[in-house]
């Protein structure tokens, strides 16, 4: 048994208490939560902890091994950086959302069974939705609704897969799952939606740019990386993942080149980087899985750093579009420096964090003889430097002077970015200090700093920079244009309302027609029939008899009227009832006589 507490519990309690505190107490408390969790991290021993019984299932809140601990470590570090970044505004919504989000992500990575996993998986969505709502603009409210709808759909797909998997005799164990039958496939797709796979992942680039400046730091960290973690646990070595990862790594960079909103450019490069991790999962070798874990660790740091630097720009200028920014290195030199460190890290410059992690995945691809995959990843490496490494700092801080003069980012934001920067450089320079020893597969040895690797990588990056420079000088680089670029989110942003209109026009029209026919016609006729139909029938039957009796038209009309009134209220003379009874008895006798023969 461990002396530690479940990390998710610490964060969830923190998230619940934050709104009840005021002023400085709230700030100190919110910052203390990740600090306590960090101390708690070192108390967690390897093994299985915190088991609960629910119905017939055993829930495991703490499976701690190398896989879960490396993710837990970076989530804890990042939650401190993220909280520090937003601590100045002291917004309870921002702080609670961040803590809830972090707690859910830790719940997923510590989960030891699929039911616990699903529970925290759904809570992740709530954290993200709160991060979107924290921006408090009408557009962010709509983005939150879109985010919620997409992820509720993903959650339902996952739940359906989980139920089918269990029904088919699968266990609730959160371990490697064979991709056989519909259940595991649905689970794979459920994970893929959170992982921002091609076509399934448009929610990411659609909504991240609408989040609050602190919220997006948490969003960029938790959702996709928990999905990577879950895929690495459940479907390692699944060949389809290699190609999904390649598509993720290569396709978004084309969009990033022509995108105007710098936070959306970062969102595209986030998908590109997660693509590398998914390739690592798909290859499934000890080195490639180590690469996935290491790259997730490094990626979280530099992606948060980049989002924070653009967040600081938004904080001071209210703008995030390349067309509206430029020349901010005058006003925000420190933010500019931190942004450049993040850019160097994502581009995998030697001595920066991306260099020591991305290359593991590429080396594994090469070692497995995956030529096309390797070339695609090399292309993606050059491309990420091009659009994230150069474009982001260049258009925000250099480029043409936008004329904006503002203050440097506030101290807490600088500290948060500074801490992330120091970690990026430290991890990149001394990967053996703590990153490599944390990796899950100890047998996979990797040495990033060889002469060949360093010179090859620098050649690649320098000539990418040269291409950017020459294209800029030649005027061939696409000018920044205020625009919207169509992506797969079109299907739900335009397709959703169109479906609604179609459903409205067709189904509601059908509904109205059915209502007119059944309620207006049939029900009416039936009530009419029971109200006066039998009386009319009786009149109809009697008319020939009256005619036989020699009544004239006026008399018949009189008889008919009298009969109709009597029949309707059921007030027939007793003799008539007796006559009917005799006829009935006669018919019965005839029937039994015939039947008896």
């Amino acid at each position: 048994m461990s002396d530690a507490l479940p990390p998710s519990l610490i964060y969830l309690l923190g998230a619940l208490l934050v709104p009840f505190l005021r002023g400085r107490y709230r700030q100190v408390f919110a910052l203390a939560v990740p600090v306590v969790a960090f101390v708690n991290y070192y108390l967690i021993t390897k093994g299985v902890h915190w088991r609960l019984e629910l119905l017939d299932f055993e829930l495991i809140l703490g499976r701690s091994d190398a896989w879960s601990l490396i993710f837990l470590h970076i989530f804890t570090v990042l939650s401190f950086i993220g909280i520090l970044f937003v601590i100045r505004e002291n917004e309870p919504l921002d702080l609670s959302a961040g803590l809830l989000y972090a707690g859910s992500a830790m719940g997923v990575v510590m989960a030891g069974d699929l039911i616990t996993l699903f529970f925290f998986w759904e809570m992740l969505t709530m954290g993200a939705v709160l991060c979107l709502l924290a921006r408090k603009t009408p557009a962010s409210g709509r983005a939150a609704m879109r985010y919620l709808l997409v992820h509720v759909f993903g959650g339902v797909v996952l739940l359906a897969g989980l139920v089918l998997h269990l029904a088919a005799g699968g266990s609730t164990a959160f371990d490697r799952i064979e991709l056989e039958g519909i259940g595991p496939w649905l689970m794979l797709f459920g994970f893929g939606i959170n992982c921002a796979w091609p076509l399934l992942g448009a929610w990411l680039t659609d909504t991240y740019p609408e989040a609050s400046i602190g919220g997006v730091v948490f969003m960029a960290t938790f959702t996709t990386k928990t999905a990577v973690y879950v895929l690495a646990r459940t479907f390692p070595g699944e060949p389809a993942l290699i190609w999904i990862g390649v598509a993720m790594a290569t396709l978004p960079i084309f969009y990033a080149v022509i995108e105007n909103d710098l936070r959306r450019v970062l969102a595209y490069s986030l998908v590109n980087q997660v693509g590398f991790m998914i390739v690592g999962v798909g290859l499934g070798t000890p080195l490639s899985l180590n690469g996935t874990a290491a790259h997730a660790y490094c990626h979280i740091l530099y992606k948060a750093l980049l989002f924070m630097s653009i967040g600081a720009v938004i904080y001071r200028t209210g703008k995030s579009k390349a067309t509206e920014l430029g020349g901010l290195c005058r006003s925000m030199p420190w933010t500019c420096l931190f942004c450049c460190i993040g850019a160097a890290s994502i581009s995998a410059f030697p001595l920066f964090s991306g260099f020591v992690s991305k290359s593991m995945i590429m080396s594994s691809a090469a070692a497995e003889g995956q030529v096309v995959v390797w070339l695609a990843l090399l292309f993606a490496s050059a491309g990420v430097f091009h659009h994230a490494g150069i474009k982001i700092p260049f258009f925000a801080f250099f480029s043409h002077d936008s004329g904006i003069r503002c203050k440097e980012a506030p101290l807490n934001q600088l500290l948060a970015m500074g801490l992330a920067s120091v970690l990026c450089v430290f991890v990149g320079t001394f990967p053996n200090a703590f990153l490599y020893p944390m990796l899950p597969n100890v047998e996979a040895d990797y040495v990033p700093y060889t002469v060949g690797h360093v010179t090859d990588q620098l050649s690649l990056l320098l000539f990418s920079a040269l291409a950017f420079t020459l294209l800029m000088l030649a005027g061939l680089y696409p000018a920044e244009i205020r625009s919207t670029n169509l992506d797969a989110d079109w299907f739900y942003r335009k397709g959703g309302p169109a479906f609604h209109r179609l459903a409205d026009k067709s189904l509601n029209a059908l509904n109205a027609a059915t209502s007119r026919f059944f309620l207006g016609k049939i029900v009416n006729n039936i009530t009419n029939f029971f109200d006066s139909g039998l009386a009319r029938l009786a009149c109809l039957l009697m008319t020939p008899f009256w005619k036989l009796m020699g009544h004239d038209a006026a008399q018949i009309e009189e008889e008919r009227h009298a009969l109709f009134r009597r029949a309707k209220i059921g007030a027939f003379p007793v003799s008539l009832t007796a006559f009917c009874a005799v006829i009935l008895l006669g018919l019965l006798t005839a029937y039994y006589y015939v039947a008896g023969k």
């Binding site: 022509i258 703008k319 010179t455 294209l471 992506d487």
Partner: protein, 103 residues
């Protein structure tokens, strides 16, 4: 935010002379690394490559350059004409604040 002061000195990085210096530095470093690769090839230095073509001098340099030029040209001349729409395509925006407003 305050408007720019017309007399404010340009930061080091933005002075035209220094921009030229930075560009010059980039060209020199590029040539240096290109040359270094040939040196490795001539001396037969083992870079422990996985593929044969990684041994070709200047492979990474040429790949990086061509990849980026292709990336930009494809994005600009193929992707942009296909997918670019008006900024208000999904929601009406007011260009003044950049913040989206309700339709």
């Amino acid at each position: 935010m305050t408007p720019p002061d017309s007399n404010e000195p340009l930061p080091w990085f933005l002075k035209p002379r220094n921009v030229r210096r930075v560009l010059f530095g980039l060209f020199v470093t590029c040539s240096l690394f290109f040359g270094l690769d040939f040196l490795f090839a001539l001396t037969g230095y083992d870079k422990h490559p996985y593929f044969q073509w990684e041994e070709w001098p200047g492979f990474h340099a040429v790949f990086g350059f061509v990849a980026c030029v292709l990336l930009v040209l494809v994005s600009r001349y193929l992707l942009r004409p296909l997918v670019m729409r008006d900024e208000d395509y999904y929601e009406k925006t007011s260009s003044k604040t950049g913040d989206k407003t309700d339709v």
